[in-house]
C-alpha cells in the first residue's frame, strides 16, 4: 500500500466540534398512565377547608310496605347518608438550573425542563391513584392458577369470581360493548368493567382461557394504547408501575394487585386553580449573584374510594416466579 503525502484528512484535521445535536430530542421514557381511568373527577373550592365530603343516600328498604286496609300507616324510615371524605394534599417538584447550563446547552434548556416537570406531574398523579387502589380496597387471592402459590397465577375462574362480586353488588359496567364484525379472528367485546394490571402479568394474561387480545377486537378505533386484552367482562390496561408487593406470597414471591371496578367506584378531587401549577423563578430571585434560576411544578389532589361495593380485585402471582 502506498501513501500519498500532503492530503488533509480527519486524522490531521479533526472536526472543530466533536459532536452536533440531532434536530430532535429522543423520547423521555414515560410509563402508561392508567390509574385515573374511570374514576370520577370532583373539584374542591378554595377557602372552605382542605377536606372534601362526597355523600350518598343509601337505598330505602324494600321489605314490606303493603297496606292492609286497617288505616295504619307504614312505619317511616329514616334515610341513611354515607359520607366519603378526602383530604387535599399538595405535591411539588423543582429544578434549579445554573446560568452556565442555559448559556452553553445547545438548545432551549428551560423549555425542556418545563416539559420534564409536566411529565412528572402526570406520572406522580398516576402513582398516587395507584396507591389509593392498592391500599384501601379488599382483594381476593387468585386460586385458579397452576403455579402452586397463594395467591396463584390468574385464571378465568378468578376473573369470573370478581365479575360475580361486582354484579351481586349492582356495579355498573364502565365501557360500552364493541359489536362483532365480519373480520377473521376477531370477536365482539361485551360492555365491561375496568381492570388495571402490571406489565409483568402480560404473559399470564395471554394464557387465560377465553382471553381476547386487543388485536382481536372488532375495531381498533378509540382503543387506548395502554389496553392489553379483554377477559370475561373486564378490559385489562397495563402499566409497568402497576401495583405489586415483592416477596409476600405464600412462597415468598411478588404479589401483584389488580383493581377491578365499575362506575363511580373511586374519585379524584382537584383543587380549583391548583390542578397543575408550573412556574419560573428568575436568577435574581433565587441566587444572590443571579446565577441560578428555578422551575417548579405543583398540584393538589385528594382521592377516595367512593363505593366499595363497586370495586374489587385480585391478588395474583406470576406463573413463572418474579
Amino acid at each position: 500500500m502506498s501513501f500519498q503525502s500532503g492530503i488533509t484528512n480527519i486524522q490531521n484535521m479533526a472536526p472543530e466540534l466533536p459532536v452536533q445535536a440531532s434536530e430532535d430530542l429522543l423520547s423521555t421514557p414515560m410509563f402508561n398512565l392508567i390509574h385515573s381511568f374511570g374514576v370520577d373527577l370532583h373539584h374542591a373550592e378554595s377557602y372552605v377547608g382542605k377536606t372534601t365530603r362526597m355523600s350518598r343516600f343509601e337505598r330505602l328498604s324494600t321489605d314490606g310496605g303493603q297496606l292492609d286496609g286497617s288505616g295504619i300507616d307504614p312505619a317511616p324510615e329514616v334515610p341513611v347518608r354515607t359520607d366519603i371524605d378526602a383530604t387535599m394534599e399538595i405535591y411539588a417538584k423543582t429544578i434549579v438550573t445554573n446560568e452556565q447550563v442555559v448559556l452553553w446547552e445547545n438548545s432551549k434548556t428551560l423549555t425542556k425542563f418545563t416539559a420534564l416537570l409536566g411529565q412528572w406531574l402526570r406520572e406522580k398523579e398516576d402513582l398516587l391513584m395507584r396507591d389509593l387502589f392498592s391500599s384501601s380496597v379488599s382483594y381476593i387471592n387468585a386460586t385458579g392458577g397452576l403455579n402452586g402459590d397463594q395467591p396463584s397465577s390468574i385464571s378465568l375462574n378468578d376473573v369470573n369470581n370478581i365479575e360475580r362480586i361486582l354484579l351481586n353488588n349492582d356495579a355498573r359496567s364502565m365501557l360500552t360493548s364493541l359489536e362483532a364484525t365480519l373480520k377473521f379472528a376477531t370477536g365482539g367485546v361485551r360492555d365491561a368493567f375496568i381492570a388495571l394490571a402490571n406489565t409483568n402479568l402480560t404473559a399470564d394474561l395471554q394464557r387465560v382461557q377465553g382471553v381476547l387480545l386487543k388485536s382481536a377486537y372488532p375495531t381498533q378505533e378509540g382503543i387506548r394504547p395502554e389496553e392489553y386484552c379483554s377477559i370475561s367482562r373486564f378490559r385489562f390496561f397495563v402499566s409497568s408501575k402497576g401495583a405489586k408487593t415483592p416477596g409476600v406470597s405464600m412462597l415468598g414471591n411478588t404479589v401483584y394487585t389488580i383493581p377491578m371496578y365499575g362506575l363511580e367506584a373511586a374519585a379524584k378531587i382537584e383543587q380549583n386553580n391548583y390542578t397543575a401549577v408550573i412556574g419560573y423563578r428568575p436568577p435574581w430571585v433565587v441566587s444572590a449573584v443571579a446565577q441560578n434560576s428555578q422551575l417548579y411544578a405543583k398540584f393538589a389532589i385528594a382521592r377516595a374510594i367512593t363505593n366499595q361495593n363497586w370495586i374489587s380485585g385480585l391478588n395474583v402471582t406470576t406463573f413463572t416466579p418474579s
Binding site: T51, R56, V80, R81, T82, D83, I84, D85, A86, T87, E89, L127, D131, L132, S134, S135, S136, V137, S138, Y139, I140, N141, T143, G148, D149, Q150, P151, S152, I165, N168, N169, A243, K244, T245, P246, G247, V248, S249, M250, L251, G252, V255, A302, R303, A304, I305, N307, Q308, N309, S312
Partner: protein
C-alpha cells in the same frame, strides 16, 4: 456548596425503631446520641452515618451504615445487619432487608412466634413460606411483647389450628399503607348481635367509631353471609385488635380458617375496607358522633421518603430515654 442540610431534629428514644419523614430525597444522614456522648464508657452507639446511592460503591446497604461506639475510646465500624439505617423511598412499603427465618408459631391464642430478630414493638411483618399454618402465609401481623427471641401476635388466635408452624420467614413492612384508611386482614368474626371482628393489626391506628367498613369474606373462611356487607363500627379495641360492628351475625355460619392442607387452592383472605361514615350531629343533645378528622378522610398513610432508624443501644435510634439528634443532607452533585 456540595451539601445542603434538608432538615434536622431531635427525639427521646423509647428503645424502639423510629421513622423520620424526609421532605425530599436525602443523600447523607447522621445521628448523634447526645445522652450517651457524656456517659463514661457506655459501650453504646453515639454516632451513626448513612450514605445514599450517589456515593456509588460507598453507598450504605439497607439496614446498615457506619457507627461509632463509645467505650474508653471511639470505635468505628459498620452496623450489624438490620441494626442501622433503612432508607425507604417507594410504595409498596416493604422495608428492604433480608428475609428473616422463624423457627415456630404456636397454635395458641394468641399465637407466639419464636425468631431471632431485631424488630420493635408494634412493627408489622409479613409471614410467608411457612411450614404448616399455610392459611396465614402471606398475611401481615403487628408484633407485641417483642424480645430478641420472639414476639406475640395479638391478632392471631390460632388455638383452632390443627398444628403449629415449624418454620417460615418474615419481612418487615411499613405500619401504614400508602393511603389511609387502609384495608385490614380479618382473623376472626364472632357470631353475635353485634359482630366482633379481629384483625391482624391494631385497628385503632386506622379506624374510629362511626366509620363504615365493607366486608370481603371468601367462602373458604366460613362466614360467607358476611361477604359484601357494610357495617358501622360501634366500638374499637386496641387491646384485642378488634372492632365491633352493627351487623347481627348470630345466625351466620362460624368464621374459621381453612386447614393448612387446603392451601394453595382455598381462597384467602378475609378483609374489610373503608366505606365512609355516617356521622351525626344531634342538635338536641349537641353531640357529634363518629367523626375524626385524623382518621376518617382518605389521605396519605405512610409519608415517603423516610429513614428508618433501628432502635437499641447498638443502633442509631438508641436505648430508652436517650436523646437523639439527627440531620439529613442533600448532595448537590451528579
Amino acid at each position: 456548596m456540595p451539601f445542603t442540610i434538608l432538615t434536622g431534629g431531635s427525639f427521646t428514644s423509647t428503645g424502639a425503631g423510629v421513622k423520620i419523614n424526609l421532605p425530599s430525597s436525602a443523600d447523607y444522614f447522621k445521628t448523634w446520641n447526645i445522652t450517651q456522648l457524656t456517659a463514661t464508657n457506655p459501650n453504646t452507639v453515639v454516632h451513626g452515618e448513612w450514605f445514599g446511592s450517589l456515593f456509588g460503591s460507598g453507598a450504605t446497604a439497607q439496614g446498615g451504615g457506619i457507627k461509632t461506639v463509645k467505650t474508653t475510646g471511639m470505635l468505628e465500624s459498620a452496623f450489624a445487619a438490620n441494626t442501622g439505617f433503612t432508607y425507604v423511598t417507594v410504595n409498596p412499603l416493604v422495608e428492604a432487608q433480608a428475609p428473616n427465618a422463624i423457627t415456630a408459631i404456636t397454635n395458641a391464642s394468641p399465637a407466639v412466634v419464636t425468631q431471632t430478630n431485631t424488630y420493635s414493638e408494634n412493627d408489622v411483618v409479613y409471614l410467608y413460606n411457612t411450614t404448616g399454618m399455610l392459611q396465614i402465609a402471606g398475611m401481615p401481623f403487628q408484633l407485641s411483647s417483642v424480645s430478641g427471641s420472639g414476639y406475640t401476635l395479638i391478632g392471631l388466635r390460632a388455638a383452632g389450628f390443627a398444628t403449629a408452624a415449624t418454620g417460615g420467614f418474615t419481612r418487615r413492612v411499613s405500619t401504614f399503607n400508602a393511603v389511609e384508611p387502609e384495608f385490614l386482614y380479618i382473623t376472626e368474626i364472632t357470631q353475635a348481635t353485634q359482630a366482633v371482628v379481629r384483625t391482624s393489626v391494631d385497628p385503632t391506628n386506622h379506624y374510629v367509631v362511626g366509620m363504615k367498613i365493607h366486608f370481603s369474606v371468601p367462602q373458604s373462611l366460613g362466614m360467607i353471609q358476611m361477604n359484601g356487607l357494610t357495617g358501622k363500627i360501634v366500638a374499637v379495641s386496641s387491646a384485642n385488635y378488634t372492632v365491633t360492628v352493627d351487623i347481627d351475625s348470630t345466625n351466620f355460619t362460624a368464621f374459621a380458617f381453612p386447614a393448612s392442607t387446603a392451601s394453595p387452592t382455598a381462597q384467602l383472605f378475609a378483609t374489610y375496607a373503608p366505606a365512609g361514615a355516617s356521622t351525626q350531629f344531634n342538635p338536641v343533645t349537641l353531640v357529634q358522633t363518629g367523626y375524626d378528622f385524623q382518621k376518617q378522610p382518605f389521605r396519605t398513610g405512610q409519608f415517603t421518603p423516610y429513614m428508618f432508624l433501628a432502635g437499641g443501644a447498638q443502633s442509631p435510634a438508641g436505648a430508652a430515654s436517650d436523646v437523639i439528634n439527627w440531620m439529613a443532607y442533600k448532595l448537590e452533585t451528579s
